[in-house]
């Protein structure tokens, strides 16, 4: 293995995966340094799961190269499997066995790893040690699934939508576990369609849409690429939205971009004070009354919308 690739936990170049006539992943490059966390952010169907499953060795790419910890799947699959921890989307563990029995089973697959009792403590399931899996809540099941990934003491953790379907409190507990793993020097690659998750966990984000990377970098840098000070959303009162046009709004001071969704408008602005002032004046001139007017700091979601015209989460 080369010196350069050894310092990388994950290196993927030119990944392509087709399912029939659909190209799920279309020439994707990823690099993940050891000890960092990368989030693949994108809407459903963007190719996130296909990408992470290629990295995990579950799906064979149609083109491209993958190296995990300097090893290739073709030549050292067992070596890779010994060193990674994986949480798949939608695994429902066997119901009739207990939490501890499940963890001990997963531990038995690895030559080296952690004491299952310790891992239970890490994921805060010690009090559920002897409970059957069927009695766990969604959040507890997800933490057990995380424990199964951690019990081998992996160098790289792959998490496919680790908090989808969880309530905010359960989600935060998962984040704490992942952050603790990172603090101990672990490398994490996760997919998510929650921008907050990416912002909370990831050193770098890769925004994917239709199998391609459309933006990448640290969350701050990616958001900065919008060159926006804030996002302004305005909802005109019923029936008056026809008095507004994209062109007129875009010509206002400090407005970079205008997008219309139904009766509502979203403005990407570089100077919040100037643009809001100009906007209010314009609304008065054309006779539009406001239902609501909101401004917020730009997020990864806004970047995604600006780049694709779509939202990360449908609806």
């Amino acid at each position: 293995m080369s010196q350069a690739s050894a310092s990388l936990a994950v290196r993927a170049t030119g990944l392509v995966k087709r399912f029939g006539s659909l190209t799920a992943v279309d020439g994707l490059d990823l690099q993940l340094a050891r000890g960092t966390c990368l989030a693949l952010l994108g809407p459903n169907g963007a190719g996130k799961t296909t990408t992470i499953e290629m990295l995990e060795g579950l799906t064979r790419p149609d083109a491209g190269e993958i190296e995990i910890l300097g090893r290739a799947w073709a030549t050292d699959a067992q070596g890779i499997r010994e060193r990674i921890g994986v949480q798949l989307q939608e695994t429902r563990l066997q119901e009739k066995v207990t939490v501890f029995e499940t963890l001990r089973l997963f531990r038995s697959f690895y030559e080296r790893g952690r004491d299952p009792e310790d891992v239970l403590e890490v994921v805060e399931l010690t009090d559920k040690r002897d409970a059957r899996v069927e009695t766990l809540s969604g959040g507890q099941h997800q933490r057990l699934s995380l424990a199964c990934a951690l019990v081998s003491d992996p160098e790289v953790l792959f998490l496919d939508e680790p908090t989808t379907g969880l309530d905010p409190q359960a989600r935060r507990r998962v984040w704490e576990i992942v952050n603790a793993f990172k603090s101990a020097g672990g490398t994490v690659l996760l997919t998510t369609h929650y921008m907050e998750e990416a912002e909370r966990l990831a050193d770098d984000v890769v925004i994917v849409d239709a199998g391609r990377i459309i933006a990448e970098g640290s969350p701050t840098a990616v958001i900065g690429s919008l060159h926006a000070e804030s996002i302004v959303e305005l909802h005109p009162r019923d029936g008056t939205d026809g008095l507004l046009t994209d062109v007129a709004l875009r010509s206002l001071a400090g407005v970079r971009e205008v997008r219309r969704e139904g009766a509502a408008f979203t403005l990407v602005v570089t100077d919040t004070q100037a643009s809001v002032g100009a906007l209010l004046t314009h609304l008065e001139q054309v006779g539009v009354e406001l239902e609501s007017l909101q401004t917020h700091s730009p997020t990864l979601e806004d970047v995604f919308v600006a780049l694709t015209g779509k939202h990360l989460r449908d609806g």
């Binding site: 579950l58 994986v86 939608e90 089973l105 997963f106 697959f109």
Partner: protein
């Protein structure tokens, strides 16, 4: 270096997982252990040897001298009717097996298609025709081995070994695939051979308990003969159980859902319930299809079990059956390994 052989720790853990998952499902335990015993008990008591039932014979008209002789016969239960119409109605309804009209000449009415009616005719003729019943002594056969339960029991045991093997493996594999547990295991360094072997080891553990319970019930409670050596008997059962494990693995090798696997398992099992001589001998089917029926794994297992239990055949005498079961082990297992769908 990856070892090509199952590692002990993971095989033990996988077997424990399988075994616990099974034992903690009361309904599965019932079907494996209790159901065959209940079935054997019900059928055994229903078909147990007992005193021959008397023929039900009706009489209308003036009682003659021979009506008293009929009445005296313990194998004939006589009922007198006032009118012919009423007697005919009882005969048509199957409440009596035969009807005697005491006119000149006497008349015997019956439906010759009913075996009970034929029996009643013979009994009436013995009495009426003055054939001394002492002239023909009847020797009742109560020797174990000739009763229906003696025939049935090995068939039930074979059916149970088939059902457990197919369900325990087919259902568990499909369930794990549907839950995406198989896919999850695939990203671990777990040896696939350990995974498949764990189904066999847990199956063999159940087999010991299953055999002890079902066979014990048959031998001690139903008095079914077990004339082969215990070793030969256990070997035949094990070879059969392993064959059905392989078939179960093949059935479940690609099925995505438990509904799908249930349908397939029934498709495999129902023809063998009927054609492999569980409840009745497959000799009743046309001779042309006997070779086909004998090639079925359950037929081979049932034949070998019957030969051992009833005739005391040793392993050497059931080699053809064991060979059939061997083929049903090797071929399905090899095919299953090739086509097995993990994700």
């Amino acid at each position: 270096m990856a070892s090509p052989f199952p590692r002990r720790a993971e095989l033990i853990e996988l077997t424990r997982h399988r075994t616990l998952s099974f034992l903690r499902q009361p309904e599965a335990v019932f079907w494996v252990f209790a159901f065959p015993v209940v079935l054997a008990a019900v059928l055994g008591f229903a078909f147990q040897a007992r005193e021959p039932a008397p023929s039900l014979v009706g009489v209308v008209g003036q009682p003659g001298a021979w009506t008293e002789r009929l009445e005296a016969d313990p194998l004939i239960e006589l009922t007198r009717f006032e009118t012919l119409a009423e007697a005919e109605r009882r005969l048509a309804g199957g409440h009596i097996d035969a009807l005697v009209r005491s006119v000149e000449p006497a008349e015997l009415r019956l439906d010759p298609a009913r075996p009970e009616a034929e029996l009643a005719r013979l009994r009436v003729l013995v009495v009426v025709g003055d054939v001394p019943s002492e002239a023909l002594t009847v020797e009742p056969v109560t020797e174990n081995g000739a009763r229906y339960i003696d025939f049935l029991f090995p068939g039930l045991l074979g059916m149970s070994l088939m059902g457990t093997g197919l369900w325990a493996i087919g259902f568990a594999v499909a369930d794990m695939r549907q839950r995406k547990v198989l896919k999850r295991l695939l990203v671990t360094p777990m040896r696939r051979s350990s995974f498949l072997a764990s189904f066999l080891t847990s199956r063999l553990m159940f087999l010991a308990a299953e055999l002890a319970l079902i066979t014990g019930f048959g031998v001690w409670i139903l008095d079914v003969p077990l004339r082969a050596s215990l070793l030969a008997f256990a070997t035949v059962c094990t070879v059969g159980a392993v064959a059905f494990s392989a078939v179960g693995l093949l059935v479940a090798s690609r099925t995505r859902t438990i509904e799908g696997v249930s349908g397939l398992l029934n498709l495999v099992m129902v023809p063998m319930w009927l054609g492999s001589g569980v409840f009745f001998s497959y000799e009743r089917f046309p001779e042309a299809i006997h070779p086909l029926l004998r090639a079925l794994p359950l037929t081979a297992l049932n034949d070998a079990l019957r030969a051992g239990m009833i005739d005391g055949a040793g392993l050497a005498q059931v080699l053809p059956e064991l060979a059939v079961l061997g083929v049903w082990t090797v071929v399905p297992f090899a095919v299953a390994l090739r086509v097995f769908r993990w994700a």
